[in-house]
């Protein structure tokens, strides 16, 4: 094994690299939130938060927190000049009608047809919670997934068919993982790039898939 996995921050930076100037983006709670720290200074990207903000800025300085101004993860944030507030119905209208360019979401599994599972592990004792995941998954113009390729148990999160309960059907267009960037095409997964030193054969072996070159 002569390759190195991307760290979470490296992965976040890799995604930020692909977000074009002027894009309207929603970063899902959890890992995708990290992308905000790596947005390029020479590009203006407008972040939306499902709870009713557009133009979300970084975390406030200590002591400057306003708990009326939080993000979808319920952490205090700031609003940039040019930002705005709106109600939940308007916020989800933004998501659900394709006004957002990109949603970056975490995932438990992504299938070769673009199906996404990221809200429920399927365990019977789990308390289900969906939040805005289903809205974002099918609403944004492009849905990108940010995740580690493998679970802690070494199982691939890229799958032929999702076994976990679905969040959305055929909604993911690209998956950014710590080992490779993969596009979802009408013919299934297709490798966009792998970390240095990782061959497609090794990737296919890890994922137990036949990802197209």
């Amino acid at each position: 094994m002569n390759y190195k996995k991307l760290t979470r921050d490296q992965l976040a930076a890799r995604i930020a690299q692909d977000i074009p100037d002027g894009a309207y983006v929603n970063l899902g709670i959890g890992m995708p939130t990290l992308v905000a720290n790596h947005l390029r200074a020479d590009r203006e990207v407008i972040l939306q938060s499902e709870n009713g903000l557009l133009g979300m800025g970084s975390a406030p300085s200590a002591g400057e927190e306003d708990f009326d101004l939080i993000n979808a993860g319920k952490q205090p944030v700031t609003l940039l000049p040019g930002g705005s507030y709106f109600n939940s119905a308007d916020s989800f209208a933004m998501m659900r009608a394709g006004h957002l360019d990109i949603a970056v979401l975490g995932a438990f599994q992504v299938a070769a047809n673009g199906d996404l599972a990221n809200w429920h592990t399927g365990g019977n004792d789990d308390i289900p919670a969906v939040g805005g995941a289903m809205d974002l998954a099918v609403g944004a113009r492009q849905t990108w997934v940010m995740m580690e390729l493998l679970t802690k148990a070494g199982e691939s999160k890229l799958v032929e068919r999702c076994t976990y309960p679905l969040t959305g059907v055929r909604c993911v267009s690209r998956i950014y993982t710590d080992l490779a960037v993969i596009n979802v095409t009408p013919q299934g997964f297709r490798l966009a790039e792998a970390v240095a030193g990782l061959s497609l054969a090794e990737l296919n072996s890890l994922s137990k898939l036949s990802i197209a070159p």
Partner: protein
């Protein structure tokens, strides 16, 4: 003369009946009308159906209402949180029903109730277990799910400023569900931190026009009722 200002939370909630369906604004703590929920606990109504984005945080607000055993059912999008231990325990014990709704469907279904819409088709949820058993329809080549309006007897909404006609403004992201819930309830009760004279609120910047609000009560910024 129209005067929707109530002198106390207790007065504003006096007629909540057992079995009432109650919308509660807020996303996490932002916009959560803690003083009104505390008032509801004190008021004593039971067998309530609560419609809210979350199912309570920590031991306050909806969590305290749940803990007091007043809630029969919760309709929400995101019950599970790091500090949702009260809901979690009741749910696992089978002592509270849950209807889980994607957040955008929740907001849109509430808006539909407030807007006279009998039902609508949305792509959100199609092919997932949250759409199990629901009517589907193919529209322009895409699959949609039929969703119905959610009405309520009462809406408890946390606003910032209000006047005697019931006009409201909010504070930052505390707005969230307040405006649509006020529209969808028979009686919308708004807590405000400041009651202003009619005409002080800029008519261009009123977020909830008074027609959607039946009762306004001032509470201190720390959440205590005045």
């Amino acid at each position: 003369m129209i005067d929707k200002i109530f002198s106390s939370v207790a007065a504003a909630l006096a007629d909540v009946h057992d079995g009432a369906t109650i919308m509660v604004g807020g996303f996490g703590g932002a916009g959560m009308p803690v003083a009104l929920v505390d008032g509801l606990i004190a008021q004593g109504a039971r067998h309530l159906t609560i419609i809210a984005n979350n199912a309570g945080n920590g031991e306050t607000g909806i969590a305290a209402l749940l803990k007091a055993g007043r809630v029969k059912k919760v309709i929400c999008s995101f019950p599970r949180q790091t500090d949702s231990q009260v809901f979690d325990a009741l749910y696992r014990a089978g002592r509270v029903e849950l209807e889980l709704v994607p957040q955008g469907n929740l907001a849109e279904r509430i808006r539909a109730a407030g807007s006279g819409i009998g039902g609508f088709f949305t792509r959100v949820g199609f092919g997932t277990r949250l759409a199990d058993g629901k009517e589907v329809r193919k529209i322009d080549g895409e699959m949609y799910v039929y969703e119905t309006p959610i009405h309520a007897d009462f809406a408890l909404v946390k606003a910032e400023r209000g006047d005697r006609w019931g006009n409201l403004t909010y504070s930052k992201s505390a707005r969230n569900f307040g405006p649509v819930m006020a529209m969808a309830a028979k009686v919308a009760v708004a807590s405000v931190h400041e009651v202003v004279t009619l005409g002080v609120l800029d008519p261009e910047s009123v977020i909830t026009p008074g027609i959607f609000v039946q009762r306004v009560v001032r509470v201190e910024r720390d959440g205590a009722a005045t």
